[in-house]
Point group: C7
Chain length 100, copies 7
């Protein structure tokens, strides 16, 4: 978990780790990699302090570390930290979050 | 109905479920799928808290869960939740709503 | 008139019904459809509550239900309500109105 | 003059009537239509109430009915009222006015 | 000088007259028209009242009638007044002015 | 270190020096230049005073001299100072920073 | 130095004179013109009063006459004054300045 403590996104950026693609169907059949859809679910691993609004006040981001979020199909910046693949999204580009 | 409780759109996004296309005419004739127009009517199933305006205040979205809305022909983001197809629209892109 | 009571445009949208094209000249000669110009005059049938301005206040739309307006040649969104054809325009795109 | 009383432009739009092109030179020679330049001078026949500024206040237009104005070469919307040709321009697109 | 009294630019527009191109070098050699560079120096002959800023206050233009200014190479609108050629520029597009 | 004392970026610009690409793998094998990825990690060597926000107040940049930052893959302006290669980035384009 | 006293840039424009390209290497070898890089260092010779911000207040430019600045590779407007070549840049486009 060291990577998350070491890297802090700036402004309203959110660092996420995509959930591993399901390679087995509910029925137990293994899926070849091609059949696995693009993974749009991710876990928030680090958040920026938020961007400043027009009045100069910092607007905190709308997600928290540990939350499960839904990513847009396109966009985001791939970031390699400690040989692991993460993605940076602006807070406003994250579509929504999953709550229990 | 679990999907709606589990997913919360962020900012001014609205999650809708398109009304099933009418496959039978008023006169009772069955329509082949091609003849069925694109469905633009939808039911709101979840709404974001609203986006912040320039003053930093959150502006609640203009529709409520359960309301029937008219969607624009283009736009929106397809979202799969629990193997069901939903769409996310920004509040400002929804054309209008139906009231009784 | 049920359609107008049932559908409420959102924000600064205005629902209009185009005036029927004149198919007979002032002199009484019938015009083939091709010779009939594009109809730019319309009657307002429903209006949204208005959009919010930068200060967050709702700015009412500048036309009222029943008013005759002049539409721009392009733009607007065709909407079918109760098998009748209407058009949605943003308040700011309507060119002007006719008064007695 | 009925057309002017009947049609009211919305927002900061200005309805103008182009000055008739001069078809005779100062020396008295008739000009074929081709040699007549594009008419950029016009008379204001109706004005909108003005657009709202960011503070929500209505900003009256800068020209008055009856004033002679200089139009830009391109832009404007042709409008037919009572079988006569007029043009709508946004107040900010009118280049200047002629004063005595 | 009648043209200048008769025409008033609107908003932040500035009417200028380009300085005649020098057709003779300092050494006294006549230049063919091709060798004469594009004239970018001009004299201000009329100014608009200024545009309104976001607060709704009129911001006077930064040049005065009679001042010598440097024009950008491109832009501006050619205007014919009393058979003479002038140019309209927005105040913000004028590069600078010459002072004694 | 003289270069850093001599050059001051303007507004919200940040001068960075890219970390030298690793030419040896963790296992000790030397990498040919082609195999060395684009270096996106950099050290901040000078920062501007910050840009002014809409209210006219200067907004200090979000990184400090000496901090390790993550650069976007594209963008930035190459600057040569004292025969050494640096890069200028706007504060808002820097993706994040590394902390211990 | 008369040119600098005579020409005043408008708004946030800055007039600079590029430093002469070095045609001799540190080792004393003369460089052909091709080998001389594009000169990006310049001296400020005149500055505008500054542009107005949204509140209508004038924001002075961030450089002073006499300061050495670093120019971006592209942009700027060539200006000929007294047969000498200068460049106009917007204050915000100047990358940084050199201080002793």
């Amino acid at each position: 978990m060291q990577a998350f403590r070491k890297f802090i996104p700036l402004f309203d950026r959110v660092l996420v780790e995509r959930v591993a693609a399901e390679s087995v169907t509910k029925g137990g059949i293994m899926l070849p990699e091609k059949s696995q859809g693009k993974v749009l679910q991710a876990t928030v691993v680090a958040v920026g302090p938020g961007a400043r609004n027009k009045s100069g006040d910092i607007q905190p981001v709308s997600v928290k570390v540990g939350e499960k979020v839904l990513l847009p199909e396109y966009g985001g910046t791939k970031v390699n930290l400690d040989d692991k693949e993460y993605y940076l999204f602006r807070d406003g580009d994250i579509l929504g979050k999953y709550v229990d």
